[in-house]
Amino acid sequence: MSGFAPVANREPTAGMGSPERGSDRPRLRPYARAMYLSFRQRVKEQLRIGFIIGPIVGSTGPAVTLAWAAGRGDNPEATSYVFIGFSLYTMWLMGIAMIGWSLTSEAWAGTLDLMMTTRTPLPLIMLGKALGLIAYISIPATYAFFVVLLVGGRTPSIDSVPLLMIAVVLAVVALVATHFLFAPLAFISGTTAGFISSLMPLGGVITGFLFPTGLLPSPLDVFAHGLPTSWAMSAIVRSIEGGAFVDVLADWGIALALCAVYAVATVALFVVAERRVRRRGNLGTL
């Protein structure tokens, strides 16, 4: 939180809740600085040995078993999926819980009040924090990647490393877009722990990280295709197995388009959440 005050102090005062008022230019630098400080605050908060060891211990069992299941099988495509997909699945598991609860947690902690009095839009602050969480989550995800490599016993031959790297970055973007939607959604719906908890393992089935969504029964397959993660993962597998570049591009295009839709929906939900809190006047006491 400490990062937001300097932004407010250094810039000329505009109307609360409408930072562009009184200025022709969008105030991108202060926003970027606020986002960066939010990011840093969240990373510093999470970088404790207990917060790192717990997820590492928790991801070991599924990593070992899934790597064994895929690595000792006859289907090389399964290895291509689990090779990268398990790390992304680990990010899903932790991210959906931590980012999904982030806004509600701010309200419970009483820090939402402070965020709403700064001139930086709430979604930007929360996005900075979400990226901080993703940076933290990447530690157990990296660990899971090495466990999968070790236990799986074989690595897929990668057709295009640059394409794979771009595809992985895009998959992380897809993850952030999906997780971030749940921050205002969980807050508005006043949902209990169970709602988010059920989404955690469900990610193993519907995100397409561990196997093609085509294996799912039709209704679930349709639902899975509405997630940018399934398209992003499809691009990862194509870049490993040497799929046509046009197909990889198409996957990226659809994934990015879905990310954009999610982003718009997320901002709209943040607006609803903020309006509701202001109207009710119950800052931090929801």
Binding site: G58, L210, F211
Partner: protein
């Protein structure tokens, strides 16, 4: 005495079990184990073949029974500490063995709901063929898994009362269940030490029995597996109860109920 045991079981279950509200209960007890069954079943089908998928499904139904039950029991013991009721527990003159066992008792029926959800997922979503199963034997195996899972969780839950880290202990136990019990990785493929560790894990022996029972074996031919599972459960009760008393003695001596 039985009435006291019943009251303690009910009260501790209602007061200390965080997932005892419908959204959390459905998500954690019903949805989560079902999703794991689906995830590993589909992975088995994708990476290997139908037979492997069926083996994974049976393994994950067993894990589904024990894992969530363990979570509930460990949570109850953790909450004794967080809720500040531990000093009262240790100050009372009641039977310590009764206190210890009552913290896990009502989580056993909860495990039955997880099992039902897992089996429904296996048959309806994954189309698993459970036709040849001898259901009496299968259910006997699952019941034994639930009991031994509870005893294991009570034993491990002692750690939650003393080192205050639910997540670390719960996720650690989950990893043990995944790797050591033979649910996914056949124990014959585990390195020697891990194979040995699997021998004393809950679920392991009853799971072997349940695999035979799913193929039609009767209760007589799996009695040995059930007996071994019961022995493992008894071992955890003995060790767990001893730990419980040691922790009580230590905390009485140091007055450190929250450190």
């Amino acid at each position: 005495m039985l009435r006291n045991f019943y009251i303690q079981s009910v009260c501790s279950y209602k007061a200390l079990f965080n997932w005892l509200n419908w959204p959390a209960f459905v998500a954690v007890i019903i949805v989560t184990p079902s999703v794991y069954v689906a995830m590993f079943g589909l992975m088995g089908r994708f990476a290997r073949d139908e037979a492997t998928a069926a083996a994974f499904i049976i393994g994950m139904t067993a894990n589904g029974v024990a894992q969530n039950l363990s979570g509930g029991v460990i949570q109850s013991l953790t909450n004794e500490r967080y809720g500040g009721t531990l000093p009262f527990l240790f100050a009372s003159r009641g039977s310590r063995l009764m206190m210890f066992l009552s913290r896990g008792m009502l989580h056993v029926p909860t495990a039955a709901m997880s099992l039902a959800a897992c089996l429904l997922t296996a048959t309806l979503l994954l189309g698993a063929d459970l036709g040849p199963a001898n259901w009496t034997a299968v259910l006997a195996c699952y019941a034994m898994m639930a009991v031994s899972g509870m005893c294991f969780a009570l034993c491990g839950g002692n750690l939650a009362m003393s080192i205050s880290s639910f997540n670390f202990i719960y996720y650690g136990m989950m990893s043990f269940f995944f790797i050591l019990t033979g649910a996914i990785i056949p124990r014959s493929e585990l390195p020697g030490v891990l194979r040995l560790a699997g021998e004393v894990m809950p679920v392991t022996h009853a799971l072997e029995g349940s695999r035979k029972a799913y193929e039609g074996s009767g209760i007589g031919s799996i009695a040995g597996d059930i007996g071994l599972e019961a022995l493992v459960a008894l071992g955890y009760v003995v060790v767990g109860y001893a730990m419980f008393r040691v922790i009580e003695t230590f905390q009485r001596r140091t007055g450190a109920y929250d450190e």
